[in-house]
């Protein structure tokens, strides 16, 4: 199997495992990490596909995505801290006052 395929499978794996982390792990920050992983999977794709094409669109897009990731991380951490202030935990499942009551 060629290098491209391998790398694509890697990115797919990264994406899915990032998602899995985001869905399963019991710490908001680890969830955040999972999301970062997903973004990086996207980056890997972009660079990989860009590698076969002329123009730098893919790489530039990846660049912007890194910026976006940073912003998300910052905002995310801020929000997590705030929630932590109220709930004294960063376990998403324990932060569940808002729900359907019946």
């Amino acid at each position: 199997m060629s290098k491209t395929d391998l790398l694509f499978y890697l990115s797919a794996f990264l994406f899915c495992s990032g998602l899995l982390i985001a869905v399963t792990k019991k710490n908001a920050i680890v969830v955040l990490m999972g999301i970062e992983l997903m973004l990086n999977a996207a980056n890997l794709n972009l660079v990989l596909f860009n590698f076969q094409k002329k123009g730098m669109d893919g790489q530039l897009f990846a660049l912007f995505i890194i910026i976006v990731a940073v912003c998300e991380a910052a905002v995310g951490i801020a929000i997590i801290l705030k929630t932590y202030h109220y709930y004294h935990t960063s376990v998403p499942d324990q932060i569940s006052d808002l729900k359907e009551k019946n």
Binding site: A22, V23, D93, L98, E100, N102
Partner: protein, 639 residues
């Protein structure tokens, strides 16, 4: 297209005869309660005027040919329905009878109802009834006829329920109305058939006959069902005895003289519309009714009930006559019956009134077993009652005899020589001829002759009540309708009918039969015991014939009683069935239909609960759900 009427003298006459009773009733209703005593006077006076006018009208008509007027009432689908009047000799004499008897009953009621609080309503309804009855007689449009037909029913309902605190009275009224209603539905369907096939309801209109034979028969049968209801024929006759709950004068007017006769009148009026089968049906129904009624009358102890059953029997006789094509006879008998039966009822009313006067209220004044020996105490009542009874029994020199002659003659000719079902019908006529004298005699004997159980110190009814009785009694003497007792030709030219020559054999036979009947009756009833217990007395068995006759009649009476019960129970059953079924439907309403709707609502809520349960507050499961949805979506689209 209907010609505009020319407003002649007789037109105004007709109109006033029709309207005056209405005016009377309206004026009664508009009277304040506290001057209620005015009501009887007003209405009686107005009725007097009306009946005088009716007499004038009668002679008008009988001199000139028949007159007819009609006004377009409304147009439906370009066809006109007219309020039309047809006056021929039959109609005019019926009008005469109705007005006169109504007047007399009014008169009687003044005395009879003197203590009643609701005189206003009573006389108002009487007036209204008279109006409706006259309309019914006059109109020659089936729809109009039907309308008045229903109106008389309503007024009868209201009058039966006059003693509205009495449960039994109300029940009787309701029963009467409902049974009538069944008949009326038949009538209505008949109308519908006629309209939708011929597009007209004018009785005279030839188009009525130009409809398919089947539908013509059907229409005839339906209308006859109406007659069955109204004039108490088998199987709808047992409202009439109950209707006796009403005031006695009412029974005299409505349930003896006029309303119940309306059916017979209608039969004659539209006899040209009937097919052979219908006639057959009519005849058979009549014969059954007449025998059943007679036997019923034989075993009643309530004076009014006896009269009621006899009315049924007589009506049956008339209907049978109509069915057998003995139109004139039947009609003639109808007129006579109006007189003598009204007379009988008034007499009964007088007796009851008298009994109520002496305050022995603990015993039932209507039970003939409690009566007796009133001959001396109430001479006038006795005489008039006796005359009317004689007429009912068909004893010579009375009107009843004459018309019964006529019927029997025509029946025998109709029955023909070779044996057929007609013979059965005819024979029933003879049976009635035999039975009628018996129960009549029984009545007279028990009331006036037999030794009284209790000492009554009663005195004669007031004059105002006596006059009508006397009038009616004289009316039911043969003189009025025929100058010679046996031969009645003179009566014929009075009512331009052409009667067949009386068959002297028949009259002879009938006289003989009546004689036998009277003898037997006297023989049976002369000793006291019969009065209190059952009819069969030991020495009765001697006479084989009578014995046989008695057994038979007993059986029959049981049968008829059973029949009565049966009919009653059937009707009750139906009503109960309806009510229970109605409850079931009500339940269905509450639980099935609504339940369905609610069910939908609940299921919607349930689904909602499921969808909402996704939002369990755990963000990661939200994500899981969302992604799962996405994946499912992708898979669905891809493969």
């Amino acid at each position: 297209m209907i010609a505009a009427p020319e407003y002649s003298f007789s037109f105004w006459l007709t109109l006033s005869v029709l309207v005056i009773p209405l005016v009377a009733s309206l004026s009664c209703f508009s009277i304040k309660q506290k001057i209620g005593w005015l009501a009887p006077l007003i209405s009686s006076v107005l009725l007097l005027i009306a009946s005088i006018l009716a007499i004038v009208l009668f002679f008008q008509v009988s001199n000139s040919a028949e007159v007819s007027y009609s006004w377009v009432w409304f147009t439906l689908n370009q066809k006109e329905i007219a309020f039309s009047i047809l006056l021929d000799s039959n109609t005019s004499i019926m009008i005469l009878i109705v007005t006169v008897i109504s007047f007399l009953v009014h008169l009687f009621s003044i005395g009879y109802m003197a203590e009643d609080q609701h005189q206003v309503r009573y006389f108002g309804m009487l007036g209204f009834f008279t109006f409706a009855m006259l309309g019914l007689v006059m109109s020659s449009n089936l729809l109009i006829t039907f309308i008045f037909w229903e109106l008389v029913g309503v007024s009868s309902y209201r009058l039966i329920a006059h003693y509205q605190e009495k449960e039994s009275a109300i029940k009787a009224a309701t029963k009467a109305f409902l049974l009538n209603k069944i008949g009326d539905l038949g009538f209505l369907i008949g109308l519908i058939i006629f309209w939708s096939w011929s597009g007209t309801l004018e009785i005279g209109d030839p188009n009525l006959l130009r409809i398919p034979a089947f539908w013509l028969t059907a229409a005839g049968v339906c209308i006859f069902i109406g007659v069955i209801g109204k004039s108490a024929q088998f199987p709808l006759f047992n409202w009439l005895p109950d209707a006796m709950e009403g005031p006695t004068p009412v029974s005299a007017l409505i349930h003896a003289a006029t309303m119940v006769a309306a059916g017979v009148f209608l039969l004659m009026r539209i006899s040209n519309l009937f097919t052979e089968d219908v006639f057959m049906l009519i005849a058979i129904t009549g014969s059954i009714t007449t025998v059943a009624g007679a036997i019923g009358a034989l075993f009643q102890f309530d004076i009014k009930k006896v009269l009621a059953y006899s009315t049924i029997s007589q009506l049956g006789l008339m209907v049978m006559a109509m069915g057998a094509g003995a139109m004139q006879g039947g009609y003639f008998h109808l007129l006579h019956h109006a007189f003598f039966k009204a007379g009988l009822f008034l007499g009964a009313g007088a007796i009851i009134h008298a009994m109520h006067q002496n305050h022995q209220s603990n015993l039932d004044a209507q039970d003939i077993r409690n009566l007796g020996g009133l001959r001396k105490k109430l001479p006038v009542t006795f005489i008039s009652f006796a005359i009317c009874a004689a007429a009912l029994a068909g004893i010579p020199f009375t009107s009843g005899f004459v018309s019964k002659e006529l019927i029997l003659t025509q029946m025998t000719t109709w029955a023909g020589n070779e044996i057929s079902w007609r013979w059965i019908v005819m024979s029933s006529a003879w049976v009635v001829t035999l039975l009628t004298p018996i129960y009549t005699f029984r009545l007279i004997w028990f009331i006036f002759f037999s030794k009284p159980q209790h000492q009554h110190n009663v005195e004669e009814a007031p004059v105002i009540m006596r006059i009508p009785m006397i009038v009616l009694a004289t009316g039911s003497l043969a003189i009025l309708s025929s100058l010679s007792p046996i031969h009645i030709s003179s009566a014929i030219n009075l009512l331009q009918h052409s009667y067949p020559e009386i068959n002297s054999k028949v009259s002879l036979a009938s006289i003989v039969i009546i004689g036998i009947a009277l003898a037997a009756a006297f023989y049976i009833f002369k000793n006291q015991e019969v009065k209190n217990q059952k009819l069969i007395t030991p020495h009765f068995y001697l006479d084989v014939v009578s014995n046989y006759f008695m057994v038979l009649t007993l059986k029959l009476s049981e049968a008829t009683k059973g029949g009565d019960k049966l009919i009653d129970s059937v009707i009750h059953g139906i009503s109960y069935l309806q009510i229970t079924f109605a409850h079931i439907t009500g339940w269905a309403d509450r639980y099935l239909v609504d339940g369905f709707v609610d069910g939908i609502a609940y299921s919607a809520k349930g689904v909602g609960a499921i969808t909402r349960s996704l939002a369990n507050g755990k963000i990661q499961s939200y994500l899981l759900w969302a992604m799962a949805g996405l994946v499912i979506f992708i898979v669905w689209i891809l493969y």
